[in-house]
Subunit: 342 residues, 2 copies
Amino acid sequence: MSPTRNARVLFNSVPTGFPEPGKTTVYDDTKTIDVDNVSLDGGFLVKTLVLSIDPYMRGRMRAPEAKSYSPPFTLGEPIASHGVGVVVRSELPEVKQGDHIYGLLSHEEYSVRKNLEGLTTIKNEHNLPWSVYVGAAGMPGKTAYMAWKEYSKANNGETAFVTTGGGPVGSLVIQLAKLDGLKVIASAGSDEKVKFMESIGADVAFNYKTTNTAEVLEKHGPIDVYWDNVGGEVLDQALVAANTGARFIECGMISGYNTGGKPIQNMMLVVGKSLSINGFIVTRLQPKYDAEFYATVPAKLANGELKYTEEISNGLDKVGDVILAVQKGTNKAKAVIKVADN
Amino acid sequence: MSPTRNARVLFNSVPTGFPEPGKTTVYDDTKTIDVDNVSLDGGFLVKTLVLSIDPYMRGRMRAPEAKSYSPPFTLGEPIASHGVGVVVRSELPEVKQGDHIYGLLSHEEYSVRKNLEGLTTIKNEHNLPWSVYVGAAGMPGKTAYMAWKEYSKANNGETAFVTTGGGPVGSLVIQLAKLDGLKVIASAGSDEKVKFMESIGADVAFNYKTTNTAEVLEKHGPIDVYWDNVGGEVLDQALVAANTGARFIECGMISGYNTGGKPIQNMMLVVGKSLSINGFIVTRLQPKYDAEFYATVPAKLANGELKYTEEISNGLDKVGDVILAVQKGTNKAKAVIKVADN
């Protein structure tokens, strides 16, 4: 068979502020691959179907000497993110042609993997679209589900404040909080997202770009659980609005990823209000909750008990733009790149 | 019997920075009391023996409209703190003359109490000096013991960093950490306190006024438990020095009590390092740990298994100076006012 295009997205330069499409990352369609004959070396060939674009990816766009919880991308090499692919050929006994695998995938149309390290096979018993496995049934969904279970200590009748409530993590947190009987205050950056948050049960949903967060919290607080995807000024406002004994779940601080975080003024309230602030990385919670997650969440997403939204862009050439949109919050819903239909 | 002097310490004005002896608080020896005949109204008369001077008292020296976890002192009225007194007369069946009571006492030589609300009777089975019951066997000791048990999740071989390690809270934390098998880094503000910290087992003890905290943490860290009595810049340095999964115990932030706290720059590390930050007020932990504390700590203080130091000043006229010393950290050890011998 003639060579097939193997387009990819390369990490090209370390951004100083927001990532710039075409500069921070570049789309490269000059490579080809011989799908039938490429050497597998005992591994298997994956055709990429969908790739997730997530806020945390900004943290990997750094110089190699800066330490953080996830390794930096390598300049000149493809970036990676969670994705689903289908196995085209395999020399590995436990992996069969046609299997679907989930995990961190290279941003290439095709890639050869040596083994299943960092990957899991998806059975998809509920016939969800593959894109859902990088959203509500994937890393973002696990992030919401596992940290809510581990840290919220939610009690019926309490109040939660959820930031970026229109996204894949926040929107699941809203629904989990409602299932636990909490009043939910939720913020997002567009009126469309506000409507979505209301549709999934948020009691008080607002657009933080047009409504004053501190005033909303003053009126509808105090809050017992704070789901933080934002950090900076909003974290400071949440400290002021916190009830005694409130739990803060620190999932992310996107306000600081591109422009440096605003320092926190109100940390002294942590003592007087007996607050607990819990940062986490979902991979540390997975051993405890993975089985429970896959046993419950995909089924509820399939039968509509849990709702999700997606914004799907077609082709690896869109990756740079979608990365920027996610960092700026201008994406409409969980950002997914569709690389191939099947 | 002729009237007896009943000196007291009044809250005189709200300080803007450090409290000023004679201005923030004033010593007043113009009052007298007829110890034999003062009306008890069904209550009992307490003669104050010892009073504790603690860092948190600065927080009560505020205007009544400012909210916080403990009520503000009342202008023109005596201040209060933890103390031990002896019952001189009683009309309350459950309180006998000669009983010793512990709890928040008014800064007066004598005071009439209606009931035992907020007070406990001390048996003192181990013949400790009464002063110890406002220090290592009192609120500061409980603060150290209960929060260490609740939040440290200490594992043998880990490293703890303890601030204000020369004080009654920090010095007990150092000893509890050593008992749990941790390496202990401890800071205090004088060479004398450094020597004391070494004598109770601190592996790395340093004077933060003459030694760079960040460098010590860089050399002897990373840290798994951070006991914070300081806040501000040191909290920021501890965030940098924290290991993945470290626990921060937020006991106090004295760096901000008098001059406003420095904002925290490094909160984003909470996410990437999966940190948990736990603020607490000891009264919330007492129901869970009070019995265990009294069953174990006084005995160990009496037999020398746990060590403590005190700096005792004689007379209520010293209260203003000692309050200032505690806020500035120029006191040498747990600050106690001896009001009467027995």
